[in-house]
């Protein structure tokens, strides 16, 4: 463990380019051994426990299997069926609509909440716990609560609308009502969660940035948009990517709210709910696998687009810490 590891700065700037030969590459690898050791647990566990199920599910997508009996090879038939399956494409559309309806407000609200909680307002500790609660409230309870709140006939929301003399909304039987309600549920469950990620990130923002901004008379929104958001870019990127993956694999909320069928007209059928449906209610595991890999492709493309959008042009994923940061950290 006496090997001096190579911090990025020295590797890229201090080493003259002429010395970078094949020999030094080997040297670099040897020097980087502690780094490989540091990242190895994940890859080793993945190789042992993750790879086999993945290979299995790839193979399965070229097979016909009911999840229990014999397996038979069917070539590309599952994928051909998928391309022509209107139910699948309906699910893709629903997933994207719900993703958009939920992710944008969710991440924005989360950032606002984190920013507010980061201020030393009173009862911060209590608020933190309160915003965290949705993430642990049991889903059985959630199903009953949301059913009671958004019910078409007996729901609290519609009762309130009636009391105000407004028309009731068919939350759980119209295509947009269903999507909107699912999005509400996602926002409700994950805003606090993302806010807590942001809060954890905010503590790393050097405090003297805030101090000087405040002294200069900056308003809260100014501080928020001009200091917080830019400093939090790597964390925002993280939440965007994870919410993209999470949103595209949305499952629990529609299932809890509407059951396995996705509601009237399958308006709440998402890709993963459809996949679950095919594998665990239709027992068509081959097709379930094909759907899973189609989702993988869609998610990969979408994640790359999002990454590009959020991190902007070039590689600004890792903002080099400013001098101020360094000063702060050394205190």
């Amino acid at each position: 463990m006496t090997t001096t590891a190579t911090p990025r700065a020295s590797a890229s700037s201090n080493t003259p380019p002429t010395l970078r030969s094949a020999r030094t590459t080997r040297q670099r690898i040897r020097r980087a051994l502690p780094l490989y050791a540091a990242i190895s647990p994940f890859y080793l566990l993945f190789a042992v426990f993750g790879l086999f199920p993945i290979l299995f599910s790839i193979v399965l997508s070229f097979m016909d299997w009911d999840g229990m009996g014999e397996i038979s090879f069917v070539g590309l038939a599952q994928y051909q069926y998928l391309l022509a399956d209107t139910r699948f494409w309906n699910a893709v559309g629903n997933t994207f609509i719900i993703w958009f309806l939920s992710t944008v407000p969710m991440l924005f609200l989360a950032m606002v909440i984190a920013f507010l909680l980061h201020q030393n307002i009173r009862f911060t500790k209590f608020y933190r716990v309160a915003f965290f609660l949705p993430n642990v409230t049991s889903m059985v309870a959630m199903a009953i609560v949301f059913g009671s709140v958004f019910s078409d006939t007996f729901g609290l929301v519609n009762s309130a609308l009636t009391a105000l003399g407004l028309d009731t909304v068919p939350w759980l039987s119209s295509p947009w009502g269903i999507k909107f309600t699912i999005a509400m549920m996602v926002i409700w469950r994950f805003t606090g969660y993302n806010a807590i990620i942001y809060l954890a990130g905010l503590q790393a923002v050097p405090t003297d940035l805030y101090d000087s901004a405040k002294v200069d008379g900056a308003s809260l929104p100014q501080v928020f948009f001009r200091i917080t958001i830019p400093m939090m870019r790597p964390i925002i990127l993280f939440t965007v990517i994870t919410s993209t993956i999470g949103g595209l694999s949305l499952f629990t909320e529609p299932q809890v709210l509407l059951g396995d069928s996705g509601g009237a007209g399958e308006a709440g059928m998402t890709i993963v709910l459809y996949q679950y449906n095919q594998a665990f209610t239709q027992f068509d595991f081959g097709y379930g696998s094909a759907i899973a890999w189609a989702l993988f492709l869609i998610a990969a493309v979408f994640a790359v687009i999002n990454w590009r959008l959020v991190s902007g042009r070039g590689d600004s994923v890792q903002p080099r810490p400013s001098r101020t940061t360094t000063k702060e950290a050394r205190r």
Partner: protein
Amino acid sequence: MTTRTARGGHWQPPPGRLSRRTAMLGAGILPFALASCGSDPSISADPDELVMWYWNRSASPELLAQAAEQIPGTDRHVRADVVGTNFDTKLRTSLAGDAYIPDITYINSNNALYFTNEDLFLDLGELGADSVQDDFYEWKWNLGMTPKGRFCFFPLDIGPTGFFYRQDIFDQAGLPSSPEEVGAATTTWEDWIALGVELRGAADSAMVNDAQTVFEGFLNASPERYFDTDDTPLYLQPDSAVRQAWDTTVSAIQADVTARIPRDRGTDQNAAWSSGRTSGNISAAWWAQILQESAPDTAGAWRLADQPVRPGNNGGSFAALPHTCKDPDAALSFLTWINNPQNQALAYEDVQLFPSTPASFDALSYSGEFFGEQDPLEFFSTAAESVPTSFISTWETLIGGSFTFEIGNVETAGKDPEQAWEDALAQAQKVLTKRGVLS
């Protein structure tokens, strides 16, 4: 048995049919896959212990405690493990993995799902189960028979059905209200809908919560269902039972006698019953217990009437012995013992499982006021006598959902019934073609 491929009926020569396990291990190149010695671990190492999987309240705790000591007439004992939700996933996973399989397993009324893999279960007929056949309702016994004629699923409880209704609301609406009167006024589905129209007019209340109840109520009482044992799609024939059930349900929807509250909204359904917005339900004996627990305030107001045409069956579970069972004879002894008429009567008193052996009712009596002076035990045991024998196919469990889903669309989204029927047929066609049942 049908050959199933993903594409039509076109049988594609597969590169050799693989056993599940070989195929799975082949999919991953793993050192320990090679080291596998092929032993199939069992859950309990004790050779005298038979492990059984069941649900909470699906067997009498008292009897299980006895079997945990010793199965009468054998030198084995039973260890009963409760498996909660996702029972099928757990059972199927262990069967697919060919390891840690229970010696005895309970299976819900969806036992038809396992027909295509019936080889994984022992034929209880071969083991001598037939000797007790006469104790059971014939239609229930037949539901445990696979299309090949193997008897793999031993009868546990049953779910004979009837029309539950709120006598107080019927009374106030000036409708026939005693069980006899209601039964007599609704011997056909047309009459039942007509009565519903009167109820809607007089009390603004629905007969049932959703259209699916009517559709399934009709089919569960029909000797003909979606398929016959040769996989012939009966529902495609003109005037099939499925089509009749469909048309009846559509008339019920159009007559506004359903409350348009679909099943997946349990809270709403309960609210509808408690508030009187819905005055009835077509359901099975086991629903009486649920109703008593969830709406005790309505005690005394509910009655049971014969449903139109004849009673049906809804639910009721089975037990099966996986092929790996340690001691099939002892396991069957356990099943015949715990399900003999006397013990089923005990299980009814203990956990309200409705007996599948008529003789059990000799030992049972009902004392309760939830149905007023009416005796639900007598009602449902009488109903159980006239449940028709029918066949539930594996394929029905795969396509039945398309029909109930589309009837739901007609009810809640106002979809054109003919269009919905066509869509249900098309969806069923797609699924069955994909599975190689139809070409």
